[in-house]
C-alpha cells in the first residue's frame, strides 16, 4: 500500500492510469511529430528535410501501427475495446478515438502506398515467384507507371499530407484534450494541455528523427546531411522553447491566481515530482538541450560537422527523456494527489514484470524500431535506385516523388 501524507480520499490512493498511459501519448507523440517532419518538407517545401522525409513517414507509420497496444494492455477488459469503435458514447472525449485513429491510419496507409507505388510495381516486375506475388498484391492491381500516373501519385501524396497533418495533430492534441477536459483534476484541467501535448509531440518527433538520421546514415553509409541537421536543430530549439513556456505558464498561473489547488500542486512539484519534474523535465531535459542547441543555432558557422552532430544528438537524446518525463509528470503526477486536495500518495513505481510494467513498456518502445526494420526490408526507405548524381532532367521530378 502506498504511503499517504495528509488526507486522501480512500479510493484516491491508487494510480489507475499506469505506465501504459504514459507510453500511449509518448508513442502517439512520435506519430504526430514524425508526420510534422514529413509535412515540413512536403507541404511547406522545406528542402532541408528532404533526406529525412521518407524516414519520417515510415517512422510515423511504425509508431502508429502499435499505438493501440499500450491502451489495450491497460484496459480492464481489452476484449471489449471494440465497443469504443462500434458504440461510441460521443459526449466522451475518449469516444472520438476510434474515428480519429482510423482516419489517420487510413491516410497514412494511403500516403505510404502512393509514395511507394512506383517502387512496388518495379520490384514486382523485377522479381519472381512468391516475392513477385507479394509485391503484385501490394500494387493492388494497377501497374501504371506512366508519367501521368506518377504525376497523379505525386498530387495524391500532397493532398494526403494536407489531410494527414491536421489528422496527426488532432490525434495527438486530442490526447491532451482527454487530460485537459477533466475538471476534477486541476493539474490536468487547462485548455493549454492539448497545445502542450502537440508541441511536445513535435519535439519528440524531430528529436527522434535527428537520431534516426544519424543512425541510418551510418547504416547506409551515406553522409549525414549538414543542412538537414542544421534545420532540424533549429526547429528542435524552437519547439521546446514554446513547450516549456506553456508548461511554466500553466504553473505560474496556478500560483499567481493562488488557485484552490495551488497548495497541493506546489507540494506535488516540490516533493513527489521534485526529481522527475524539476531535475529531469526542466533542468536536464529542457535547460541543457536549450543551451546545446543554442550553440548549434547561434554558432553554426564556426562548428565542425562532427561537433554539430554530436551536440544535436545529445540534445535530442535529452529531449526524448524530457518528453517522456513530461508525459510521466502529467499522467502519474495527476494521480499522486488526492482530489481532497489535502493529501499526497507516495511516488508510483511500476512493477517490472506486470502487464503494465517496465519490461512491457521497453518492449513497446523497441517494437516500432523493429517494425521500421521490417518496413525498410519490404519498402526500402532509402531509394536504392537513386544514383549518386542524378541527371538534371530527372532531378526535377525525382526528389519530390522520392521523398514524398
Amino acid at each position: 500500500m502506498p504511503e499517504i501524507s495528509g488526507y486522501a480520499f480512500p479510493n484516491d490512493v491508487h494510480v489507475h492510469w499506469s505506465l501504459m498511459i504514459v507510453m500511449y501519448p509518448y508513442i502517439t507523440g512520435f506519430v504526430a511529430g514524425a508526420f510534422i517532419v514529413t509535412a515540413l518538407y512536403h507541404l511547406f517545401g522545406k528542402k532541408e528535410f528532404e533526406p529525412v522525409a521518407r524516414l519520417a513517414l515510415a517512422t510515423s507509420f511504425c509508431f502508429m501501427a502499435i499505438a493501440t497496444f499500450p491502451l489495450n494492455l491497460h484496459l480492464g477488459h481489452p476484449e471489449r475495446a471494440g465497443y469504443v469503435m462500434v458504440t461510441p458514447h460521443f459526449s466522451s472525449a475518449m469516444a472520438g478515438f476510434g474515428l480519429l485513429y482510423s482516419a489517420y491510419f487510413v491516410i497514412l496507409l494511403l500516403e505510404v502506398w502512393f509514395v511507394y507505388r512506383r517502387e512496388i510495381i518495379e520490384t514486382a516486375r523485377r522479381s519472381r515467384g512468391l516475392k513477385r506475388a507479394f509485391y503484385a498484391a501490394l500494387a493492388l492491381g494497377t501497374y501504371d507507371t506512366s508519367p501521368e500516373a506518377l504525376e497523379i501519385d505525386h498530387r495524391a501524396v500532397k493532398v494526403l499530407s494536407a489531410f494527414g497533418l491536421p489528422a496527426a495533430c488532432m490525434l495527438h492534441g486530442y490526447v491532451g484534450f482527454i487530460f485537459g477536459g477533466i475538471k476534477a483534476n486541476p493539474w490536468w484541467s487547462t485548455p493549454l494541455m492539448p497545445v502542450i501535448f502537440l508541441l511536445s509531440a513535435a519535439v519528440s518527433g524531430i528529436a527522434l528523427l535527428v537520431l534516426l538520421h544519424q543512425v541510418t546514415a551510418r547504416l547506409w553509409r551515406r553522409p549525414v546531411e549538414r543542412e538537414t541537421v542544421q534545420a532540424m536543430a533549429r526547429w528542435l530549439w524552437f519547439f521546446p522553447i514554446l513547450t516549456v513556456t506553456l508548461e511554466l505558464l500553466e504553473i505560474m498561473l496556478l500560483a499567481y491566481e493562488n488557485s484552490d489547488a495551488w497548495h497541493i500542486i506546489s507540494q506535488l512539484l516540490t516533493t513527489r515530482l521534485e526529481f522527475s519534474f524539476i531535475s529531469v523535465q526542466m533542468i536536464v531535459g529542457s535547460l541543457v538541450p536549450f543551451i546545446l542547441l543554442a550553440i548549434v543555432v547561434t554558432m553554426n558557422r564556426y562548428l565542425h560537422d562532427r561537433v554539430r552532430n554530436t551536440l544535436a544528438v545529445i540534445a535530442s537524446l535529452l529531449l526524448l527523456v524530457q518528453v517522456f518525463a513530461m508525459r510521466w509528470n502529467v499522467v502519474i503526477g495527476g494521480q499522486l494527489f488526492s482530489k481532497s486536495f489535502r493529501g499526497l500518495r507516495s511516488g508510483y513505481q511500476p512493477a517490472l514484470f506486470d502487464r503494465e510494467g517496465v519490461l512491457v513498456a521497453i518492449g513497446l518502445f523497441i517494437l516500432p524500431f523493429a517494425l521500421l526494420y521490417v518496413f525498410d526490408r519490404v519498402l526500402p526507405i532509402e531509394p536504392a535506385a537513386a544514383p549518386p548524381g542524378p541527371p538534371p532532367a530527372e532531378g526535377v521530378v525525382e526528389p519530390a516523388r522520392r521523398t514524398a
Partner: protein, 258 residues
C-alpha cells in the same frame, strides 16, 4: 428537438435519398451491434418497478454522525466491496481556528481510534461520503462506451457488462467515489443499493445507520421527509463550484469539507 421534428407536418413524403438510406443503414447496423454486444440490462431492478415514478435523493445530517462505521461495514457486506476500496466511507474532522486534521482510517470500516492532535481542537465531527449521483455528472459524460449512465429515477450506475475498464470515469469524479475493482476489472461505485430500492427497501447504509444521519427519499413524493428537508431546509452539496448538481445533500456542512 426530436419531438418538434416529429410533429412538424410532412409536406411531401420524400423518396429515400442515398444519404438518408446510408444514415438509416448505419443506425440500424449500430443498433444491431448494440443488441449483439448486450444492451444495458436493468437486471437489478425489482419486478413491477416503474423508474419514471421515482426520483431518489439522499440526505446526510453531519451533526448526527457518531463515526461508528456501521454504514461502511453494511455497504461492504451488501455489495461485496473489495478490500481497500470504498463505495462509502466516513471522514473525521478535528478542527481548530488555526489548524485542522482529517482522517478516515480504512474508510471508517472499523470505526475511529482516539487521536491526539498537535493543536487544541475546538470542534470535531464526522462526514459520511459516497457517490453524489450528480445530475450533471462528469463520470457519465466521459464514459467512452456509455457503460456509465443515469437512470430515470436519478441513480448513476455502471453496466459491468459494457464497462471496458479504461478508468476515465474514475479520473473524472471529483469526489473520489469510483474505483476500478481488482476483481471485475470494471469501474464500481455506490448504486444507492439499486437492487434494494427498486424492491421498496432502503439502501443498506441508511438501513443500519443508528442515528438517522443517513436518510433516503423520493423527490417525487410530496410528503417525503427527505424531500421536505431538501425543499425547505438549508442544504449544501460537495464542491458546488463544479456544477455537477449532486443529489446527495448535506446538512451542517463545514467549510473544511471538500
Amino acid at each position: 428537438m426530436d419531438e418538434t421534428q416529429r410533429d412538424a407536418p410532412a409536406s411531401a413524403p420524400d423518396p429515400v435519398g442515398r444519404r438518408e438510406f446510408l444514415s438509416s443503414a448505419l443506425r440500424l447496423g449500430g443498433g444491431v451491434l448494440v443488441f449483439l454486444a448486450g444492451a444495458p440490462a436493468i437486471g437489478e431492478a425489482g419486478e413491477g418497478y416503474d423508474w419514471t415514478q421515482h426520483r431518489w435523493a439522499y440526505l446526510i445530517d453531519t451533526e448526527k454522525c457518531i463515526g461508528c462505521g456501521s454504514c461502511v461495514r453494511a455497504c461492504k457486506a451488501e455489495n461485496d466491496v473489495p478490500d481497500g476500496f470504498f463505495r462509502t466511507w466516513v471522514e473525521r474532522y478535528v478542527v481548530s481556528p488555526e489548524a485542522s486534521h482529517v482522517d478516515s482510517p480504512k474508510g471508517g470500516l472499523e470505526g475511529f481510534p482516539p487521536i491526539q492532535t498537535p493543536f487544541a481542537p475546538t470542534k470535531s465531527f464526522f462526514v459520511p461520503k459516497m457517490c453524489n449521483h450528480c445530475k450533471e455528472t462528469p463520470c457519465v459524460q466521459v464514459c467512452p462506451v456509455g457503460a456509465s449512465y443515469r437512470t430515470q429515477d436519478g441513480v448513476v450506475l455502471v453496466d459491468g457488462e459494457r464497462c471496458i475498464g479504461c478508468g476515465y470515469c474514475v479520473q473524472a469524479c471529483p469526489y473520489g467515489s469510483r474505483f476500478l475493482s481488482p476483481e471485475t476489472h470494471t469501474a464500481e461505485k455506490c448504486t444507492w443499493c439499486y437492487h434494494r430500492i427498486t424492491k421498496g427497501l432502503r439502501p443498506a447504509c441508511v438501513e443500519v445507520c443508528p442515528t438517522a444521519t443517513r436518510q433516503f427519499g423520493d423527490m417525487r413524493r410530496e410528503d417525503d421527509p427527505v424531500r421536505l428537508a431538501i425543499a425547505r431546509g438549508r442544504v449544501s452539496v460537495l464542491q458546488p463550484h463544479l456544477l455537477t448538481e449532486p443529489q446527495c445533500f448535506y446538512l451542517a456542512l463545514d467549510k473544511e469539507v471538500r
